[in-house]
């Protein structure tokens, strides 16, 4: 290793620092013109390592024009890094200008940046895509030497990462010899990340630099005082001990798993916070100004604790965080490590973390996660192949930059690691989609967005198309949200539209750390007042919970199956497992235990699969379908992270047959196509691909009505062109992510021949946590009509005596036929009898084809 040139060596020395090995290694890579990936734990001086070569180069050879581009997933991070980078530049008096460019950058500064680019520009994937969609891009980027990708592990495998990968492929052409530098936290698949970053899609073309690991983190398990809960995920019972820990340390981050949990823990802490310790709340649905305020207070050392969700996983260096408390099971090892790393960014001191499991199963999961951290075993999937919807957006953006030949663009795109396996057929179909929708029925010929000239070059049709394309760049699709505004006061944040639709004026809910009363909806804003009576609800957000990771699942199973490893478990948990061994048996590491027992006139079956909530929910649908066919009359199911539980009218006498591998057949196809998860996936894909307009925040209501409901489009497309490229993209994405079909397949093949069935006379100790969980699915989950019939009948029973216009009603209902099993008469006399679930099943069958 050489030494840095002056004034850099002197600058380090003046601060009493010596350049770290990985900082020098990145500099060496730069000198030999190589791309590099630096993998190091947080606090290793990673960012400086990424920029140092650029600073040295620009000092040795000062010049105008864009030299280094830095891309971060967070706007705030770009701004923060810019500030930190100013220090060395100013102190060494380097001839370098550093600027940021994000969605927040004012128009006049953007224009100035185009005229006179800074040497170093810090930006986000979205802003980079907009820059590249301009005809001036070739000139702007011509002199670019380096692109630094921060938090590369968080980008790779996401749609924003896909977009960045495609943009980098284009930058390679505009600036030959461009070096890529990736900065990443420790990951489970460094090779895959290298390939993702590589300009050739080959891992060996990126030099791997490993930062030295810091001190081992100090982790401990903290149980609530008194009784250890059987179920629940919120961890509220531990609030007093969490508060004690906060009081006993300088600055604490309390990490939780969902926004709802953040609200509840925050409320629980303040209820007992008699010393008025400054404790704040931070999650992704709070108003951005509010979040910035909390971050600033944190950085200024004015807070003792902040309760946060994944919104604080990435990002700004807080400096002095003394401990991290993780409430609820961590679900994944890599995420846990990242969170622990937030406590203390100094390498040589250990990070301190406290794990607070919310229930008995979570205790085992926390112990498993602690073991995994000690063993340096990480989890997480390798980056998945790039999305076709992002490709569609990119193709249009590239046409806006300059005409292209399809062969050349295909070659360029497949040099990106994320798209190296893209077939020419898929590429051509996406291109056709961008041109005119790509439908078999060529109805939109006259509306083409692109045209081809005699040499086969593809041009964008006109300026209007280009303008529209630039406006819709970006891959973040928000669920429809409603702003929450205090009457006569500020906006507090936002909740999902569906949550608002379940509220009636007068209902109250907890949000932004306060109890609010719902007053009404005014245009796109939900108006609330403070206070309110009754049991408050907590807004939930779709896709908020992460399922148990595969490697953590294996560790949990290993601990359960091997009593010698129970020593690390607290006494109540050991007692619980001993009782399970006595009453039933323990699940084997690689097999599967199924328990069958009667309870309350139904038959319960609990299968210990340990494949995570998403996989279990999909599996539950498949298994209950099969149960129906075998005559067990299933009523419902529940998938937790650990088990799948079903209940049925008749005893499942051959439960092992429910887990044969052929359940992943046609039924799965049918269900997947109908499921709301697929509809959600399609909505995102259709929006990113430009099929439907983005919901621009703050749009007038009239504008909102103009956007078309993606469900209607989905239904029509499925019926008339099931093989359309966007449906192919949707199926591929759903099979990978939301439905976790891959994990089900692994499970089924793993347990074949080693399923153990235990018939019990009552619920076993291990099954209790599952049976008290929320989130039950009913078998007729797909048969909406059966549900409607049942609900309409219930409404009528409830309102039968108090009709608002009883006179008309008699006429209205005169001829409505009453079919057996379907209650439709609004004024039935036998109001006391609610339809029992059995009847519901029967009517669901009647409706089935």
């Amino acid at each position: 290793m050489g030494t840095l040139p002056e004034p850099f060596a002197g600058w380090f020395a003046a601060r009493g620092w010596t350049p770290r090995t990985h900082q020098l290694a990145l500099w060496k890579a730069a000198i030999s013109g190589e791309s590099a990936l630096l993998i190091a734990p947080t606090g290793g001086g990673k960012t400086l390592a990424g920029f140092l070569p650029s600073l040295v180069d620009l000092h040795a050879e000062p010049r105008e024009g864009l030299h280094t581009l830095y891309v971060s997933p967070l706007k705030a991070l770009a701004v923060d890094i810019a500030r930190n980078l100013m220090d060395p530049v100013r102190e060494m008096d380097l001839p370098i200008r550093i600027e940021t460019r994000t969605g927040d950058t004012p128009q006049n500064r953007r224009a100035r940046q185009r005229e006179m680019p800074p040497q170093i520009l810090l930006t986000t994937p979205e802003s980079l895509a907009v820059l590249l969609a301009s005809p001036e891009a070739p000139e702007f980027f011509a002199g670019l030497r380096t692109i630094v990708v921060d938090e590369a592990h968080a980008m790779a495998g996401s749609k924003r990462g896909d977009q960045l990968a495609l943009c980098m492929a284009r930058l390679d052409r505009l600036a030959p010899g461009l070096r890529r530098v990736g900065l990443s936290a420790t990951v489970a698949h460094p090779e895959a990340l290298r390939a993702w970053l590589s300009p050739t899609a080959r891992a060996e073309d990126v030099r791997l630099v490993l930062g030295k690991g810091g001190a081992e983190p100090v982790m401990e398990l903290m149980l609530p005082a008194g009784h250890l809960p059987w179920g629940g995920h919120m961890g509220l019972a531990s609030a007093p001990r969490i508060l004690e820990r906060i009081a006993g340390a300088g600055v604490t981050i309390v990490f939780v798993n969902t926004r709802a949990q953040a609200e509840l823990i925050f409320a629980a802490l303040w209820k007992i916070n008699e010393e008025n310790l400054p404790i704040a709340l931070h999650h992704g649905s709070l108003q951005i100004e509010q979040r910035r305020k909390v971050e600033a207070a944190m950085a200024a050392g004015k807070l003792r604790a902040v309760v946060a969700t994944a919104s604080l996983d990435l990002g700004i260096d807080w400096g002095a965080v003394d401990q991290v408390i993780q409430v609820g099971a961590p679900k994944g090892v890599s995420r846990l490590l990242q969170r622990i790393g937030r406590a203390n960014h100094r390498m040589d001191e250990p990070s301190r973390a406290v794990l607070v499991p919310a229930n008995r199963f979570e205790v085992i999961e926390c112990v498993a996660a602690t073991e995994a951290v000690r063993a340096h075993e990480l989890d997480g999937d390798p980056p998945r192949p790039g999305g076709l919807d992002v490709l569609a957006q990119h193709i249009l953006a590239m046409a806006c930059q300059a005409p292209f030949h399809p062969d050349e663009l295909y070659a360029e795109v497949t040099r990106a690691g994320a798209y190296s396996t893209l077939s020419r057929r898929d590429f051509d179909d996406v291109l056709r989609f961008v041109e005119d929708g790509g439908y078999a029925l060529q109805a939109y010929d006259r509306f083409r967005r692109l045209f081809r000239d005699s040499e086969g070059m593809v041009h964008v049709r006109d300026l209007r198309v280009a303008r529209q394309a630039r406006m819709n760049l970006g891959t973040i699709v928000d669920t429809p949200m409603l702003k929450v505004r205090l009457r006569g006061g500020p906006v507090l944040g936002e909740v999902e539209e569906w949550f608002a639709s379940t509220l009636e004026p007068g209902h109250c809910f907890i949000f932004a750390g306060q109890t609010l009363r719902y007053e009404g909806i005014d245009a796109l804003t939900m108006v609330v007042t403070r206070g309110g009576e009754g049991e408050p609800r907590v807004p939930a957000y779709a896709g908020a919970r992460m399922p148990l990771s595969t490697s953590l699942s294996l560790r949990v199973r290993s601990i359960l199956a091997d009593p010698r490893r129970w020593r690390g478990l607290p006494e109540p948990v050991r007692d619980w497992l001993r009782l399970q061994r006595h009453r039933s048996e323990l699940p084997q590491r690689d097999g599967m235990l199924i328990e069958v027992f009667p309870k309350g006139g139904r038959w319960f079956m609990v299968a210990y699969c340990f494949e995570g909530r998403l996989a279990h929910q999909t599996l539950g649908m498949l298994v209950t379908k099969r149960m129906e066919r075998m005559g067990y009359a299933p009523m419902g199911y529940l998938g937790t992270d650990y088990v799948l539980a079903t209940w049925s009218a008749f005893e499942p006498d051959e439960p092992e047959r429910l887990f044969e591998e052929d359940i992943l057949g046609e039924e799965l196809e049918d269900w997947i196509a109908e499921s709301s998860m697929l509809r959600r996936t399609f909505r995102n894909i259709a929006t990113i691909a430009g099929l439907i307009e983005k919901n621009h925040p703050g749009q007038e209501k009239s504008g909102r009505q103009m956007t078309m409901n993606s469900d209607l489009i989905y239904d029509v497309l499925r019926k008339h062109e099931p093989d359309h490229i966007l449906l192919r993209a949707t199926r591929a994405e759903a099979a990978h992510g939301l439905t976790d079909v891959g994990r089900i397949a692994t499970l089924l093949s793993r347990v074949q021949g080693s399923i153990r069935v235990r018939r019990l006379d009552r619920v076993s100790p291990l099954a209790v946590p599952a049976l008290i969980e929320e989130g039950r699915e009913w078998v007729a989950g797909g048969a909406e009509d059966a549900l409607l019939a049942e609900a309409a009948a219930l409404v009528d029973e409830a309102t039968g005596g108090a009709e608002h216009f009883a006179d008309v009603l008699a006429e209205v209902t005169e001829g409505v036929r009453v079919r057996s099993g379907v209650v439709d008469r609004p004024r039935r006399q036998d109001r006391k009898r609610r339809p029992p679930p059995r009847r519901f099943i029967r009517s669901a069958r009647e409706l089935a084809p």
Partner: protein, 235 residues
């Protein structure tokens, strides 16, 4: 398919789960808000939604016509998504529409805000509204009217079930009026609890949600008209 009878101003109407109304005494079939060529309207603006909506809507309408064999077909406006929609129709769709209209003796195009002029080259008469005995056909409901069939609002209703809330297009009714759901394949909906729609039912009413083979009836609570809202809620 089980239609539900409903009496309006002494006339017996059948509400059909397909989203159409039949008036047997006058051999009349009523349908609203087809929004034909909505897909191509979006395509012209650069959003290439699947071009099969007109085909889909017409095939469903043909089914309704075959079932009721009406002498008169009344379309309650917004039959085309925009005034030029008629010209954009694909030849095959145009022919299908022609065949469909030839099966009835009389076609009435009530004009809507999306299609304020009569469609060119199609049979039938066009009118802003039509009165027949005690029943009036109009695109957008008139608050004072009695015995009125209208469309425009694309009413839908939501019902909470134990497996989550389910939302469906619906007929919105009371003793004075029936507002039909939109029939078009690409038509969304407005919740009956929205003041703009609920305000037309000041004493409450009944919503009939469309199901596969039947309607699901739920009460609509009374609601004040938008004009009578307290000042702080306006704007």
């Amino acid at each position: 398919m089980t239609p539900a009878p409903l009496h309006l101003s002494g006339e017996r109407l059948m509400l059909d789960p397909m989203g159409v109304v039949s008036w047997p005494a006058r051999r009349t079939l009523v349908v609203s808000d087809l929004h034909l060529e909505k897909g191509s309207h979006f395509a012209a603006r650069g959003h290439f939604v699947p071009p099969y909506d007109t085909r889909e809507t017409l095939s469903r309408l043909a089914l309704a016509v075959r079932r009721y064999r009406p002498a008169r077909l009344v379309l309650l406006g917004d039959s085309f998504h925009d005034p030029r929609g008629c010209e954009r129709m694909a030849p095959a769709d145009c022919a299908a529409l022609g065949r469909l209209l030839a099966e009835v003796e009389e076609v009435v195009w009530v004009l809507g805000n999306h299609d304020p002029v009569a469609p060119v080259g199609l049979p039938g008469m066009a009118s802003a509204s039509l009165a027949d005995g005690p029943i009036t056909f109009r695109h957008e409901a008139d608050f004072r009217a009695v015995g009125e069939l209208s469309g425009h609002f694309h009413p839908k209703a939501a019902l909470a079930t134990r497996a989550g809330t389910i939302s469906r297009p619906c007929f919105a009714t009371d003793a004075r009026r029936v507002i039909l759901p939109a029939f078009g394949a690409y038509t969304g909906g407005l919740d009956v609890r929205d003041p703009a729609l609920g305000g037309l039912f000041p004493r409450g009413g009944r919503a009939f949600m469309l199901g596969e083979g039947r309607l699901f009836s739920i009460p609509m609570p009374p609601m004040r008209r938008p004009a009578q809202r307290s000042p702080e809620r306006v704007g």
